[in-house]
């Protein structure tokens, strides 16, 4: 502890009896003798990497959300998923707990993956306290759309439809009030692979979201996959020699748009991933529900930042790094 602070404290403590009864002084002028650690992290957010980044949990906590299940070898089968909706407090930033509504205990929920032509069977069990549904983006019958068939607490439903079209989609709860149900955490990534598999790549899923922790209709924290600065704390290791494919979706509530920006390189961006058309860029902008597939062929090794190119979102948690190795 620096000496100057000590002397300042003494001065305060010395002044207290002068100005009022000691009991009153204690309320305001207490010197906090039990001072704790005091090493200043000399850090702007550029230095927010590794230990310096305030993120929750261990290095592999979010693997199930970051790495999608592998592509199926052949199409035409039945793909089963079970999602249990329940209320669950999530630690989204160190020490900050958000009373979330989740599918299977995380926000975003689990990655659902099928191949075009598969019969997708998703059972929703509502173990929460409010009615919920799942609304899948894609092509399906009207009664499988998760709008009219409200699943009350303790009830369940099975959505069954052929998976199409190929591309990258999202799913989310469509019970009302919609804003509340989405913002609370009921959403996730939904991949439909084309019948002839995409070329092999290092595949990642990133769902961009935000959390309004104080209920004022504005987000206090922004993340990918649910925890602030998580990939700054634990950079994502990828190889330069192989294409990196990111399934990127935006499910941020309250804000009009979110975005993804890559440092030090360019990528191909396939909106929705359902056609061959792509844009070659380093920044893409998505409104809520928009998603696409990013393919990066890294030119260099090293540490490259990625983040929302809304500086505010970046500094409120939506920032990470790729650790590119040979």
């Amino acid at each position: 502890m620096p000496k100057s602070r000590l002397s300042r404290r003494k001065l305060l403590a010395g002044a207290a009896p002068l100005v009022a009864a000691p009991t009153l002084a204690k309320l305001g002028l207490d010197g906090n003798a039990e001072a704790a650690e005091h090493d200043h992290a000399h850090a702007g957010h550029a230095a927010m990497v590794g230990e310096g980044a305030p993120a929750v949990g261990g290095p592999n906590d979010l693997d199930a959300l970051l790495y999608p299940p592998p592509q199926a070898r052949r199409a035409g089968g039945v793909v089963d998923y079970e999602l249990v909706a329940h209320d669950h407090d999530l630690e989204i930033a160190p020490g900050v707990f958000f009373p979330a509504w989740t599918y299977n205990g995380t926000a975003p929920g689990p990655v659902i993956r099928a191949t075009e032509g598969d019969r997708l069977r998703v059972r929703l069990v509502n173990a929460g306290t409010h009615p919920h549904t799942i609304q899948f983006h894609g092509i399906h019958p009207a009664d499988m759309d998760g709008v009219f068939e409200i699943v009350g607490p303790g009830e369940d439903i099975t959505y069954e439809f052929p998976a199409r079209p190929a591309g990258f989609h999202v799913y989310h709860c469509h019970a009302t009030p919609l804003k509340k149900h989405i913002h609370k955490g009921l959403y996730g990534a939904f991949i439909i692979d084309p019948p002839s598999p995409r070329k092999p790549a290092q595949e990642l899923v990133m769902v961009m979201n935000g959390y309004d922790t104080d209920g004022d209709g504005e987000n206090n924290f922004y993340t990918v996959n649910g925890r602030t600065f998580y990939y700054a704390r634990y950079p994502i290791r990828v190889r330069r020699s192989q294409t990196v494919r990111i399934y990127l979706a935006n499910l941020t509530e309250f804000d009009l748009v979110n975005s993804f920006h890559l440092h030090g390189d360019f990528f191909r961006y396939y909106p929705t991933g359902s056609t061959e058309a792509f844009e070659y860029t380093d920044t893409v902008m998505l409104c809520q529900g928009q998603r696409g597939i990013i393919e990066i062929d890294f030119a260099n090794t090293g540490r490259f930042m990625f983040h929302a190119h809304q500086s505010e979102f970046t500094e409120l948690g939506w920032m990470g790094f790729f650790e590119v190795v040979e």
């Binding site: 906090n32 704790a36 000399h42 305030p54 020490g95 900050v96 922790t213 505010e312 409120l316």
Partner: protein
Amino acid sequence: MNSRAWAVLPVILLAVVVGAFVTSGTALTDLVGRNPPPADELDIRRVQFEPGEIKIRVTNPQQDDLTIASVTVDDAIVPFTLDGSARLGRLRSSTIHVAYAWVDGDPISVGVTSSTGIETTKEIAAAVETPGASAKGFLGNGLIGLLVGVVPVALGLLWLPSLRRADARWLSAFMALTAGLLTFLGIEALAEAFQRQAELPEPLAGAGLVLLGVALSFLTMTMLGSRLARGEQTAALGAGALALLVAIGIGVHNFGEGLAIGTSFAFGELALGTFLIVGFMVHNITEGLGIAAPAAEGGGHVGLGRLSLLALVAGGPAILGAWLGGFLSSDLLAVVFFAAAAGAALEVVVEVGRYVARRAVGGLRSNWVLGGFLAGIAAMYVTGLLAG
């Protein structure tokens, strides 16, 4: 059973009932409904700017413990360290240290989020370096206190010879003027106390706190008055003692004034303008007049030593206040100070009133007295506009 045992009985029974209620948990409140969830909002008491660093003092005003989880500056999450514990019990405080290259003179906001996600933000109109305890600052604050406190009061006291030559009716008018300006000061201090009290975190913010301060100083002054009167032959307060009492009352007020000036300078909320200093000086010269009036009333010789003492008692506390203002981190104490200033001023009004009733031609209802009282209030208002 003797009477003492009877006196203790209600206390014992109360303890039993309270104990029973506490051990029953929420059984009773559950009959009525559920308690709303706690507010979970921290209170940001003070933000200090030092080169490359921001210090944020936070207090937990809530019933339950709160934990400091996340800190933002201008809506950006920043790494921080803590002096003290992250988990704060009721009314406990910690200081958050943030390494930050703040921009001089720019508006800035800091936010502290508790573990339940509730964010408290504080907007600072302009970031300026918080002056530390330096010899230069000490001297500067002292000189300002001298200039706005001691000097004008001393100058006002120089009216003494002219007052002494004035006839009795004029003198009673000037005595009433003293009462008028003290009433003005009392009301101003009272309003200030209430305003600051309203800004306190809720558990501390009872208006009764102001009453406590007022009563404390009013009664202390009453005691002081009767102690001074004991020295007099008539057992009623004499002119010399009254002048001293007026000086003390004004002194308590000037302490608060110095405090306000010192605090405002320390936090960069007050521009150190020439106009402001001049305003305070003109305002406070009337206070010297207020002390001179009872001193002249007595008729006896008042030595230079005694005059200097009166000036020091009335004006000196402004210096003390200015010194302390920069270090006073408690809004609670400020409320008590201003309430005390109100109590002291109003008590002296009562003393002056008694004196005038006893001595003035025509008593309290004479036109000279009524006019003087009004003139005192008006003079304070008009000169106060300069300091506003």
